[in-house]
Amino acid sequence: MSSLRIITNGRIIDPKNDRDEVADLYIKDGKIAESLSDEEIQNAETTNAKGLVVCPGLVDVHVHLREPGQTHKETIQTGSWAAAAGGFTTIVCMPNTNPAADTAGTIQYINDAAQRDAVVHVYPTGCITQGRLGEKLAPIGSLKKAGVVAITDDGDCVQNNEIMRRALEYCKMFDLPIMDHCQDMSLTENAVINEGEWSIRLGLKGWPAAAEDIIVARNALLSELTGAHVHMQHISSAGAVEVMRRAKLRNVNVTAEATPHHLALTDACIKDYDTNCKMNPPLRTEADRQALIEGLRDGTLDILATDHAPHTNYEKDKEFDYAPFGILGSETCFAVSQQILCGEAGIPLNDVIAWLTYKPAELVKLPAGTLTPGAPADVAILDPEGTWTVNEETIFSKSQNSPWWGDELTGKTVATIVAGKTVFENGQIVG
């Protein structure tokens, strides 16, 4: 593979640099180059991207790679394949592994495995509390030294406000954001679906939106108290969007993400107890879905993230109550996001790409998400009009738990380039 590359005639969308033009993109020695010499151009490998979008490789700050400990669902390798197939070049993995990523040793393991097995950049997060139990702070300083980019007990929201307050104060010292899965556990015991018409009709235990809104409010108040950056994961309710909106008006140091599935689906999808529509937080109502779209549009919500959560078929193929929460997200993110946000809501593609590139990268301070000359040559070549079907051929995750399984989606990854090297092309991993 040549270290010189030209991606020609693509529509270059680089929101960080306000760039949207048909042009050639130059890559030299794994970095974006301003230009190449005539001789270099002669020797460069050329990729024709006519009619396609050329943008920074996508960045996902919320994936579950399941390694160590749950490698029957996913591994760092297969999760990185799924990411590459979705146009992602940088992913941030959650610490709810087994053991939980609450020691420098486990972070080292993840970094070593990523170095060895992954085809995209993988950055780990570490736990807020030991064992994600919400009781005692994890060694956050050591985790930072080992390379975590954020701290989170993802999936197990810290319930004790004193511990959360101290975690925020402590993390601020290291300039580490805290990512929180916002869920009041006392309001959601055994809950499996949004509380509303569908929980009533189906007889399933409801998860009221207020349980999310309360913690979003709590986090905003504690951020205000401590000055620490709290990032609210997968906001799903209209109420939480409103709490975020008011916090931002007061310039509180909070950010939030929305997932493609909460933007695209509602709890009505569960009418036949489809466990591939079971996730946490749950799919909510049409009004919530619209509020999320508006929240993104007006900047209340900052970024998109997938919450890619692989589970095997045999784990999902169960009574609804017993199936685990979570769905795949990496491969389907761009298609679903552009279908809903551009196709349905009329939001410019550039904004969607911003929410998937430099904005999440800046949120966790990663060297990613732009095509600025000198930046790592992490590039996605996307076909917003390209169609594809979600099936064994197109899903690279070890698992298949997608609500879109078998569906045709619009918005396709043509190629994914990491540090100048193609890792995904023509529907195949080539890394």
Partner: protein, 315 residues
């Protein structure tokens, strides 16, 4: 009409005509149950497995009784005696039952949607005998069948369902069937167990007992289900009784001809005063008896029995 369903998963998918077809067949079976020889050969040679993964007395007995009146062989599997406790999944248990050539599965399970899930796994008919808080279709059928023995039609009749609605599969199935049959349904009880959201199912929500009882033609009491509620739904059983329990004095709020029903098991002295439960206004035991005929009808129809064949054998 011709019955075309293999399974009875819930009342929600049924049409009014299908519900009435079950009642027609049930009436035929009820006449047979009045004869000295109470058995018909309709399901001779068939094996029905009652897979009861949650405790039950009435429903289990009624299904066993219904199956034996139809001459089927019945095997009942209880949760504590099954491989469920060893961690076998419902899917594997069911496939094993089918591999043993069972002809039908009657499922009682604590997980909502489990009967539908099972029906998608196995080819044999699946009858829902209660899936968590979701549906209990044969209970609604026997309840409505019993009402129809007292009223010519349920069109415009006012039915109040009182008690723990939130966790009740009996309430949900009755809401579906009664509204399909033209009745006006009110659900009543404490706001914690009768959330306003039930209005989306086309019923009235009332938290005042007197209002709930005033113009009801039928009041259906539901058991307070200790096993499904967390402790936060009301202060105490005593307070529940003082606010929503029916006693002789409160029964005077009812119209004189109103029926009192209860799907059982009764908590005597909690939702209903003991004497009242045994009084002639109560049709609780009629419900139990009708549970056999209606379940015979369901087993018969879902195994492909035709209505005309039944009419010949009943005469």
């Amino acid at each position: 009409m011709e019955w075309t369903r293999k399974d009875l998963i819930g009342i929600e998918p049924l049409s009014r005509e299908e519900i009435e077809a079950i009642f027609t067949v049930a009436s035929g079976f009820k006449r047979i149950l009045g004869r000295s020889v109470k058995k018909v050969p309709a399901l001779r040679g068939k094996t029905i497995v009652n897979l009861f993964l949650e405790p039950s007395t009435r429903t289990k007995l009624a299904f066993e009784m219904a199956a034996s009146r139809l001459s089927a062989d019945v095997i009942t599997v209880n949760a504590d005696a099954s491989s469920f406790v060893k961690g076998e999944t419902l899917k594997d248990t069911a496939r094993n039952i089918c591999a043993l050539n069972a002809d039908m599965i009657v499922l009682r399970h604590s997980a909502p949607g489990s009967a539908k899930y099972l029906s998608e796994i196995v080819d044999v008919p699946v009858i829902n005998a209660g899936d968590g808080s979701h549906e209990h279709p044969t209970q609604a059928l026997l309840d409505n069948f019993t009402m129809l023995e007292h009223f010519d039609s349920l069109e415009g009749k006012k039915v109040t369902i009182l008690g723990d609605i939130l966790f009740s599969r009996v309430a949900r199935s009755n809401i579906f069937s009664l509204t399909k049959l033209g009745a006006e349904v009110t659900v009543a009880g404490p706001a914690t167990l009768v959330p306003k959201t039930f209005e989306s199912m086309g019923v009235k929500v009332v938290h005042d007992l007197k209002t709930a009882l005033a113009d009801a033609d039928v009041v259906m009491l539901l058991r307070i289900q200790h096993e499904r509620q967390s402790s936060t739904h009301f202060p105490s059983l005593g307070e529940y009784t003082s606010m929503f329990g029916i006693n002789k004095a409160r029964a005077k709020w009812l119209k004189p001809e109103a029926l009192i029903m209860h799907p059982g098991p009764i908590n005597r002295g909690v939702e209903i005063d003991s004497e009242l439960a045994d009084s002639d206004r109560s049709v609780i035991l009629e419900q139990v008896t009708n549970g056999i005929a209606t379940r015979m009808a369901v087993l018969y129809l879902c195994t492909g029995g035709s209505m005309s064949a039944l009419e010949n054998s009943a005469e």
